[in-house]
């Protein structure tokens, strides 16, 4: 049996996928979910072979949900209109269904998936492309244990590189996210955050004092090292 999870906030949008799936004898819908949080739980519980995922959803969107999964399952995206997401899908040869879609188009997507069982690394590349192209980042979604936390970007004090992860420091401690410093440097607002060192990006408004050319003191008492180019960048941003 092939296990499938449907994730879409509109009940009718789920029902049409369920209806179309009825013609496949070997498929079982393990769960229908109305948002990304439920979706994550369902994926952890059922380990589905395939998920149908809407992009625009409450709280966290489809991409943000996938980002939080250690090993994302194969995905067929369903979306009404999102030029930017469509470009990303096409670039990474991941199938997507534009709402409203016909039974024929749906069958074609299923056929394609059955043939190649879309490789998970495709999903990784897609997420990378999506997040690096997105406009300015307003929030970071992280997972702590079994709960999900949405951190508004202005609450991030600083970012610190940590092997394959980035430590996101807030006043409530730090959270880990599997991303590169490069990614954050590219998507953060340059007037608010500055990469002052290979391993550090700080929020400018958190600076208390620049002691010397190689260290900056933050409001919470943390000392962050400055690289030479970081010092130059910082001076430029502060207009010194």
């Amino acid at each position: 049996m092939i296990k499938v999870v449907l994730i879409d906030d509109e009940p009718l949008a789920r029902s049409i996928v369920a209806e179309y799936l009825q013609t496949f004898s070997n498929i079982e819908i393990a769960q229908e979910c109305t948002d990304g949080f439920e979706g994550m739980k369902a994926i952890a519980q059922h380990h589905p072979d395939l998920i149908f995922l809407d992009v625009q959803m409450p709280k966290i969107n489809g991409f943000e949900m996938l980002e939080l999964l250690e090993a994302p399952p194969a995905v067929i995206f369903t979306t009404a209109f999102d030029e930017f997401a469509m470009r990303a899908f096409e670039a990474h040869a991941i199938d997507y269904l534009l709402k409203p879609f016909s039974k024929e188009r749906f069958d074609k997507a299923m056929e394609k998936w059955m043939k190649q069982k879309a490789a998970p690394q495709n999903t990784q590349a897609l997420l990378e492309a999506v997040s690096s192209q997105q406009e300015e980042q307003h929030r970071v979604v992280v997972k702590t244990g079994s709960s999900i936390r949405i951190i508004p970007i202005h609450e991030v004090l600083y970012f610190e590189a940590y092997d394959d992860y980035v430590k996101i420091h807030t006043k409530d401690g730090y959270f880990l996210k599997k991303k590169t410093m490069q990614h954050f440097e590219n998507t953060l607002d340059t007037g608010t955050f500055v990469r002052v060192h290979r391993s550090f990006i700080i929020q400018i408004s958190q600076i208390t004092k620049i002691d010397s050319a190689d260290e900056v003191l933050l409001k919470n008492g943390v000392r962050v090292p400055l690289s030479r180019t970081g010092y130059t960048k910082l001076k430029a941003v502060l207009g010194l």
Binding site: D9, E10, P11, E19, T34, P58, H138
Partner: protein, 345 residues
């Protein structure tokens, strides 16, 4: 196009270096043809400083006056006139300084034509470089201006589109109809009817038109019915409107984007059921409409409140009434409210 910055400081430095080099060269040439070093140096400094000074004068003139292509003849004449004046002054000064030395005076006299040519050439080069510089600056400015204009046009176009219709709404509604067509054809037909009525209403009205509140609410209801089919039990709405307000006027299609924003805000910022409240009242000579939606103050993006929908409403109100205080938003712990004030004619 890479932008090379040519600062005044850099120009001044280069200019000084070039002239210093040339003063040195001329000193050695004059020594070579028989003047003693002391004389050669003074000659070189006097004549070249004068030319350098005239070069600066030319530079300053050209800052305020840019010749058209056919005025170049005048510019050359100017340069020639300056060169003659230059040589005359230099000649007098040097004659005065070395009046005792007949050999020097002879060399000075003999070299006048070549000096004149040289000065004319130098001033010509300075003019040309100036022209190239201004041409370059001009091209740069044109490119920047063009990019700015294009951006403005694009933004205007985008906001116009946004005001009309959100493609998300249309395609998702069609998707719902597609789902209903299989299981509940009667409901599908009803929704097609509602969607058609809504679209017709949207197309019929123009931006400048004022409509009675009752009409606007009717149109809004069509929209809400469709959204309720899409989102099922998650979306609930409540409209409070006293009959006495029905005839009050407001710009057509003003409420729908506000409510659309509230629905999006409410539905995408929380995972619970959502109640959108629409309150209407009259205060003095104004119709006041307040739209309330639940939201989560902890995770809402800081600028979300004045999203695309609201900024186009604000813009329209400004264009119609020349006031910026007619749309207000308020964020409380659990609720977000948008209020518009419509002055009555």
């Amino acid at each position: 196009m890479p932008i090379v910055e040519i600062t005044k400081k850099r120009i001044a430095r280069t200019y000084t270096i070039v002239w210093t080099i040339w003063i040195t060269v001329q000193t050695f040439i004059l020594t070579y043809i028989g003047l003693d070093f002391h004389q050669a140096l003074i000659d070189s400094i006097v004549s070249n400083s004068l030319t350098a000074f005239l070069g600066i004068v030319l530079y300053n003139i050209l800052q305020y006056y840019q010749p058209e292509n056919d005025n170049f003849v005048y510019l050359r004449l100017w340069a020639f006139f300056l060169a003659v004046a230059d040589i005359a002054i230099a000649n007098e000064v040097l004659k005065h300084v070395f009046s005792y030395d007949t050999h020097y005076l002879f060399v000075l006299h003999q070299s006048l034509p070549i000096r004149l040519c040289f000065i004319f050439l130098m001033l010509g080069i300075i003019t040309l470089l100036n022209w190239v510089r201004y041409y370059y600056l001009n091209v740069q400015e044109t490119i920047e201006r063009k990019a700015d204009t294009e951006k403005m046009v694009r933004e205007a176009e985008l906001s116009k589109l946004r005001q009309q219709l959100q493609p998300h709404f249309l395609f998702n509604s069609l998707n719902s109809i597609s789902a209903l067509a299989g299981s509940k054809p009667e409901q599908a037909r009803k929704m097609i009817q509602q969607l058609s009525d809504f679209l017709r209403g949207t197309l019929k009205k123009d931006d400048q038109q004022l409509v009675p509140l009752s009409d606007e609410l009717q149109h809004l209801n069509l929209y809400l019915e469709i959204e309720k089919v899409r989102f099922g039990h998650r979306l609930n709405t409540e409209i409070y409107c006293d009959e006495s307000l029905n005839a009050l006027l407001l710009p057509s299609l003003l409420l729908q984007p506000i409510v659309e924003n509230a629905i999006k805000f409410g539905l995408y910022d929380t995972t619970e059921n959502v109640l959108i409240e629409i309150h209407t009242r009259q205060e003095k000579n104004e119709l006041i409409v307040e739209v309330k939606n639940p939201y989560d103050s902890a995770t809402a993006a800081p600028n979300k409140g004045t999203g695309f929908g609201l900024s186009s409403v604000q813009r329209r109100l400004y264009l119609l009434y020349a006031r910026t205080d007619l749309l207000k938003t308020k964020a409380e712990e659990k609720h977000f409210s948008t209020t518009i004030h419509i002055p009555q004619p």
